[in-house]
Structures are given as structure tokens and as C-alpha cells.
Symmetry: C2
Subunit: 354 residues, 2 copies
DNA sequence: TTGAAAGCGTTACCAG
DNA sequence: CTGGTAACGCTTTCAA
């Protein structure tokens, strides 16, 4: 049955397989595998002359190993899944960039990204990733409590899971990467308090309740320490879009007395806040200060340049990948929790209280 | 050897397979496949009672079909690859969003994204995608001339390719989606000329030569039609980052007489241009007008809100997916070229020439 | 150093 | 309607 006469060029109707390469190179399929993989187990040495012949044949045929077959055989896809909650936020992409770089650097050359907008789609996306037999999963800002079952399945598949930017309470024993937003919020509040601000508004736009609570906690605590009575009307809850931030700011700017500073949950929403201020004829920072979190790419180029808290997002992504790979290699290690430090980036959107 | 006694719960060391489900449900593996796939060929009907038993067993075991095995068997991974040139540009994400939505809607539930920064990495990324046996590949702004070989391989694998936002000259016979930037540039130039602008600068920041040439052509042509002599010093070539746009704008603003308007290749760079203008103490649009392309999410919230050309990016992504799927179903159809129209979005960054 | 052969988990064909 | 069984393309052990 074997179509012996198949030449190098006429198999145009089908992707070439290892067997085709073997035939052209006049060797066995095993030899082809040895030459082209040469992964672990050291070099199962094969004669240089043969090696070259195989390489040439593969090149000539445009042979690409079938990843599905490899995955099936090796029980590993050498890939990492990532779920991103808000694809619209540039900060998310900074993280993805970090993940991508580190994954590629570690030979986990491919990155599967799946976008999610709500808990239901999140489940579905994670399941899809499960089916692909990913070696690890990085979840950002997830409703992890709804994914218990998926975590079980993953662990049975020996896949690693890293949670990124989530609260670490009442959690399964997972590795986590935590951006130092809490500490950053402390720095920012100190900065604002030193500038003399006392009426400080907070635009709190998050996708789900517990996210950003560390920032909220720092905000409340430092106000309290400064002897400022809490004022509910200065905290505006809203969604995650720029428009949400804009509208929240409009509401905040109608408070009397007006806040002299507005802390915004992230830089994206801060863009909306800056716009609202400008629209109301307020000068930033002369009339009101505005500050954000994340230090997204455009933060230095907004008008005015935005004071913010920077957490190196690429490092966050990179650390997540490392935790994944560490766990793949050492499955029984105790859970690790790494924190990526934050620091204040002072620009032109904050100034002395008027 | 077959571990007959394996109960539903103690197989914790390995992902459950179809065989496990079959054993628990007391049916054959084929039956499990029929129940859980039920894809094409119509319903290979199976008794409702049996069906339920299988479903229950699968649920109980947390069974997820192994996608690698399915891909191997079906010769299709039901996935689409996308390469994005500049992950930093929000416009790219808009496109990805469109691709993601449409792909999911069509049952191509997973989206593989691979980021590239240069021609070499692009080749490598595409090869990786090839190995995964993607059903289709969407290339945005690619150096397609360097990928001839990969295209051959793809076509042999019966994978579809769509080029997005590329010049369509001297091209293999590929399907393309072209954003209407050329026409948009015409609209924008008309808008600026009507406002009385004659000295119009152009910040031309692209990753590779031919990209954006349709905008350049429109710019030159309309200036010429308006009787304005070309002025090389008004065109600034630069890279693709906000910083590049900022610096290009600084150079442009030093021209004497100063341009009264600046056309920017995209909104991202326009952010840098707006910042440069503000920094130089220029009021936009009173002293100088600024306009971009893409209508990224933040465009309406910049200070001032940015006049721009909108090409519905999600639609672009969506069309790309449709072209892919059409071709998968009808491989021998002649190449299709769809164009997504552009329209002027007039905001506050353009006004009468001073 | 090279070749033969046994799976990996699925699907789909062909008998019962 | 259900149950064997042969691929799919690859890696890897075991013999030669």
C-alpha cells in the first residue's frame, strides 16, 4: 500500500510527514526523529553525513513536524495559556508582552491567548485551554472561585496554574504573582497628602468586587491616619472603560466642596478623568490633581503627563511564566507567592492643593 | 495489564480518556465519541438512556477530549492563527477583538496569537503556527514577500491565508482585507483643505516601507490638486512608538513657517504629537490642527479630542475570519479582496487655519 | 548507528 | 444502535 513512488515534489496534496522525509533521505523514521528533535536524553548521536541528508530532505520538502502528534506522544504541548480579563486596557497587553517574551525565551514558543469578558465565557475559554493540554495557565484577575473544578482537572493533567493580580485569600494552593498595587497606593497617598490634599476622590472602576481592594484599603487607611473623616461621596464605583472613568469623574467634580485630587484605579480610566477635568475648564494640576496606576505607554504623553504608580508589567508576565515552568519541573513544591514592587512616577498631573 | 479496577475517582494521576468514560458508562469508546462529538454526518443516533449515561460519566470524571488527538485524527485544529506586528498599538487590539469574536462565533473557539517584532521572528512565529496545523492564518502588515515558502507549505496543508492591511501588488493570489485608509486620507485632506490649511505636515511612522503608502499618496495628490507645491521638509518619517511621534512632531514644529496642521499616520503617534504641541505652548486647534487615523478607544478622550479617520477595526478582524472560513470551505474559489470603508470623525483637534 | 514496532487518544468505517 | 479496529504522525525502547 505504501506509495513508494512518491517523489520529493509531487506530494502537493498533503503535508509531508516524517515518513516522507525518511524516504527522501533514505533512512528510517526513527533517524529523522533523532536528527530533528535531539531534545533531552543527550545526543543520540547519528552520523554527520546521515544528519545532513535528513536536514536537507526536510528542508527540501518544507517539512514541519506535526505539533498535534508530538503533543499526543509527549503528553505536553509546550504551550502556556493566558486569559486576560480586559483586552481593552493597555496594561493587559504589557503583561502579555512579558509573558510572550519569557515563554519564547524558555522554548515555550507558543502562547495561546484567550479573551474573556465574563465568568461564563471564562469557564468556556479555560475548558478550551484544558483540551489543548496546556502545560500551564496564567489567569489574570479571574473569578477563580468559579473555576475550582477546572483547577482540579488541570492539576490532574499536571498543568501548572498561576494567578496574577488576584486576592490571595481563601484560595486553593496556587502560585501567585501580585503586583505591588497596595504598596503603590500607599506611596501615592503619601505623595498627595504631602502636597496638602485632604479631599481626595477615588474613581474605583473594576470588573469584579475584590479586584483593586488593596488600593481601596490603602486609600482609606492613609486618609484615616491623616485624620481625614471618610466621605462616601468621594468614592465613585464604575466600570472598566474610559467612558466609565469619564462619567465617574464628572460626578466627582460636582461634589461641593470639590475634591482637590482624584486617585484613579488605573491609567486608562485616568484618561477619561483628565478629559472630564479639561472639559469642565479645570486646569490640572493647578485646580485639581489626578493620578493613576500602571504607567501605560501613553501616560507620559497625556496632557498633562500623568503621575502614576508603575508596576513593571512585563516583569509580572515574566515572573508568571517562570513560576509555571518551575512548577512543571517541580510539581510538589509548596506554593510560591511573588510580589512585584511598585514605585511612584511623578509627572505633571499632580501638584500642591489649591 | 488493563487496570480494570479503576474507579471514577482514583485516577488522579492522569487525565481521563475516552476509554475511562466508556468504562464508567459501560459502553464502548465509539459510543462515547458519538455522544460527545455528534458533529457532521448527522446524528448517528444513540439511545437517549445511553446518551445520558455517557454524559453523566463524562461530567463526573471531568473528562475533556484531548484536542491533540482530535487534531491528529481530523486533520484540523479548528483554530486560526493571527500575527500582529505592533502589539503596542491599540488599533491592533481592536482588530484582534474582532477576530476573536467572529472566530468564537463560528465555532473556531480558539485563537492563537503570536507577536512579532521583525521579519526573522515573524518567520519563526509563522512556522510555529504551521506546526500547529492551523486552519487559517491572518497576517497583519507583514513582510509577506519573505514568507513565500511558508505560504506554499500552508496551502499544501489546506490552510487559508488572509492578508490584512497590506499592499496588494505583486502578491501571491491571497485573500485580502484592506482598510479604507487611502480613501480616508482623501477625506481628511479635503477636511483640512476646506479649513484653509495649506502647510500641512505629515508624521509618517511605519514599521516597513510600503505600509501606509496609500495615505502618503492621498496626501501628496490632494496637496497637488490644491495647487500646493510639495515640501519635503513637511514630511517626517519615524518609527511606530508614541515617542517617535512626539519627536517627529518636535522637528516639524521647528519648521518656519510652521505648519498649520499635522496629519499623523495613526492615533497612537498623534498622542505624541498632541503632547509635543502642548509642550511648545501651542493651542490645538487654535494654533495648529492635528489629525490621526484609526479612532482608537481613547481618541475621543484625549485633550483635545482627536479628529480622526475611523475604519471599523472589529469589522476588519471579522471579515478576515470570514474570508478564512469561506476559503476553508471552498478552497478553489478565486481570491477575494474586501475593503472596509473609512469615514471622517470630526472632533476638537482640527479647526480653521490660523 | 540504524530499523522495527508499540503506543499516545481520537474518529470513523464496517460488522454484528 | 453498538462494538471492534484501523489509521492519524510522532517518540522511544529494544534489537540487530
Amino acid at each position: 500500500m505504501s506509495t513508494q513512488g512518491l517523489s520529493a515534489t509531487d506530494a502537493l496534496t498533503k503535508a509531508p510527514t516524517q515518513a516522507d522525509v525518511a524516504r527522501v533521505a533514505q533512512v528510517s523514521r526513527a533517524t529523522v526523529s533523532y536528527v530533528l528533535s535531539g531534545r533531552r536524553g543527550g545526543p543520540i548521536s547519528v552520523a554527520e553525513e546521515t544528519r545532513q541528508r535528513v536536514l536537507r530532505a526536510a528542508e527540501q520538502l518544507g517539512y514541519q513536524p506535526n505539533a498535534a502528534a508530538q503533543t499526543l506522544r509527549l503528553r505536553s504541548s509546550r504551550s502556556i495559556g493566558v486569559t486576560i480579563f480586559d483586552l481593552n486596557n493597555p496594561h493587559s497587553w504589557q503583561i502579555v508582552r512579558g509573558v510572550d517574551q519569557e515563554a519564547k525565551a524558555q522554548g515555550y514558543s507558543l502562547l495561546l491567548i484567550s479573551t474573556i469578558m465574563n465568568a461564563e465565557r471564562e469557564r468556556e475559554s479555560v475548558r478550551e485551554l484544558l483540551r489543548r493540554r496546556i502545560d500551564g495557565l496564567i489567569l489574570t484577575q479571574t473569578h477563580h472561585n468559579q473555576l475550582k473544578k477546572e483547577f482540579q482537572i488541570l492539576s490532574r493533567q499536571h498543568s501548572a496554574v498561576v494567578l496574577l493580580g488576584n486576592q490571595t485569600e481563601d484560595l486553593p494552593d496556587l502560585d501567585t504573582v501580585t503586583p505591588g498595587h497596595g504598596d503603590g497606593a500607599v506611596q501615592m497617598m503619601q505623595h498627595l497628602l504631602e502636597l496638602g490634599h485632604r479631599r481626595i476622590g477615588f474613581v474605583f472602576g473594576v470588573a469584579a468586587k475584590p479586584l483593586g481592594s488593596e488600593r481601596m484599603a490603602a486609600y482609606c487607611r492613609l486618609l484615616h491616619n491623616a485624620g481625614v473623616a471618610p466621605d462616601e461621596s468621594l468614592v465613585e464605583y464604575c466600570g472598566v472603560t474610559i467612558a466609565d472613568g469619564y462619567e465617574a469623574a464628572l460626578r466627582l467634580l460636582q461634589c461641593r466642596p470639590r475634591p482637590t485630587a482624584i486617585l484613579v484605579i488605573n491609567d486608562l480610566l485616568a484618561i477619561g478623568v483628565l478629559h472630564a477635568a479639561a472639559e469642565q475648564g479645570l486646569r490640572v494640576p493647578a485646580d485639581i490633581s489626578v493620578a493613576g496606576f500602571d504607567d501605560i505607554d501613553m501616560a507620559p504623553y497625556l496632557n498633562p503627563a500623568l503621575t502614576t504608580i508603575r508596576v513593571n508589567a512585563e516583569e509580572v508576565g515574566c515572573m508568571a511564566v517562570r513560576l509555571i515552568l518551575d512548577r512543571v519541573r517541580t510539581p510538589d513544591r509548596p506554593p510560591q507567592h511573588v510580589c512585584v514592587p511598585a514605585r511612584l512616577i511623578q509627572r505633571d498631573s499632580t501638584g500642591p492643593a489649591p
